[in-house]
Subunit: 237 residues, 2 copies
């Protein structure tokens, strides 16, 4: 087992517990992100079947293969930290598979929206959490969250789809709300089941975390970004 | 439109027709291969959902992302040859989507078998055709057909699955036969619909192609390779 603390000096028992707790939290964070990336890869590639043109398939494929590369980086970092990637990732598999099972796009526009809006809010959330971890972990999280799905091309394609058939706007606005609702309910499930991960945000025995006001601001930022993304598409959040 | 003939000299009318026919055939070959790769990418990534472990998902992901890279190389070559990739690939979309719709694996072992046996015979077939085209095209085809799915890892995983539950051997042997049957029936459909592509093999007005004996030998090689792959898995072809 590799210690994450670079000092390697343990003096009091509470520091040792604190450090073990912190290590568990970082492993949980990397693992949940890794499972997000591999399931996103599987679903984006599968949704490429819905793409009307081969140019669109190429775009979905670029997104999907990037998610796969991210998965590999995160898995390698878990191994570096001395974690068994299978054991670390397993607790998150059901949650993320359930999210995808409950949000199967019925057509190409819903698939694109899922990449833009669903990945958007998930990645914002992981970035927020990364402010509570060490620099090296944060760098990896930020790199992995620098997502292609937020590209102008995706926005343009969705806007063009709505322009071509304005009736779909209402359905897509609902779809956006459903994506966020499902994402939040899965996030709550993870937080309830994974103590280490929630301790990372709210703080531990000797380590101050975010207070309620800060958590409130974080949720406000997530909601604002989501509304901005919906507005970019010309949709009500 | 870029001419494939490097000499660029056209003397008789039949030579011009012959050259146009040849160009169409090469574009058809690259296009059908590109569509094979992108649909294989979509299905392999989707089948990764069936993988029991994250290590297996990583393997399926490697296979899938390699297929995607091949798709991009082939699409770029179509553009280089002055073809519109959408127009070139469209005629093959239904055929390949139908192949995948008719061969949906019900479990992880069927998914692996499809990658090994299905991709195996398809790639053998493309390699055979490539002996009738110019060197540059042949090199690209051979590169794209140098497939990871033929790796020892896949064979090992399938053999281990059969060892663990010998009952599945009969079902997998049938599955292998179905994969080849569906692949052949789709190949026949393509050959019947795409004159240029079949002319490439059987020859044109002034260009000798394969005679019946050679076509017989080609089919024998395809069947032999398929039987060898099934034997590698410990299954009857």
């Amino acid at each position: 087992m590799t210690s994450i603390d670079p000092s390697g000096l343990a003096s009091t028992e509470s520091e040792i517990i604190e450090r073990a707790e912190y290590r568990d939290a970082v492993i949980d964070l990397l693992a949940v992100l890794a499972v997000s990336e591999i399931t996103a890869f599987e679903r984006l590639a599968a949704d490429s079947v819905l793409a009307p043109s081969f140019a669109d398939k190429a775009t979905m494929g670029e997104l999907a293969t990037t998610e796969f590369r991210h998965f590999i980086s995160l898995r390698n970092r878990l191994i570096e930290l001395g974690a068994d990637p299978e054991i670390a990732m397993e607790p998150f598999r059901n949650t993320l598979e359930e999210f995808h099972a409950k949000t199967k796009p019925v057509d190409w526009l819903e698939g694109l929206m899922k990449a833009y809006v669903g990945d958007g809010i998930a990645l914002d959330f992981y970035r927020e959490i990364s402010s509570y971890v060490d620099e090296r972990t944060r760098e990896l999280v930020v790199e992995v969250c620098d997502d292609l799905s937020q590209s102008a091309y995706i926005v343009e394609r969705i806007r063009a789809g709505i322009e071509q058939d304005p009736k779909v706007a209402g359905r897509l606005a609902l779809w956006g709300r459903r994506l966020v609702g499902e994402a939040l309910s899965q996030a709550q499930r993870v937080a309830a089941e994974r103590d280490a991960l929630s301790t990372l945000i709210i703080g531990g025995v000797d380590r101050p975390g975010a207070d309620l006001a800060e958590i409130g601001r974080m949720l406000a930022r997530l909601t604002d970004n989501h509304s901005r993304r919906m507005a970019d598409l010309g949709l009500a959040a």
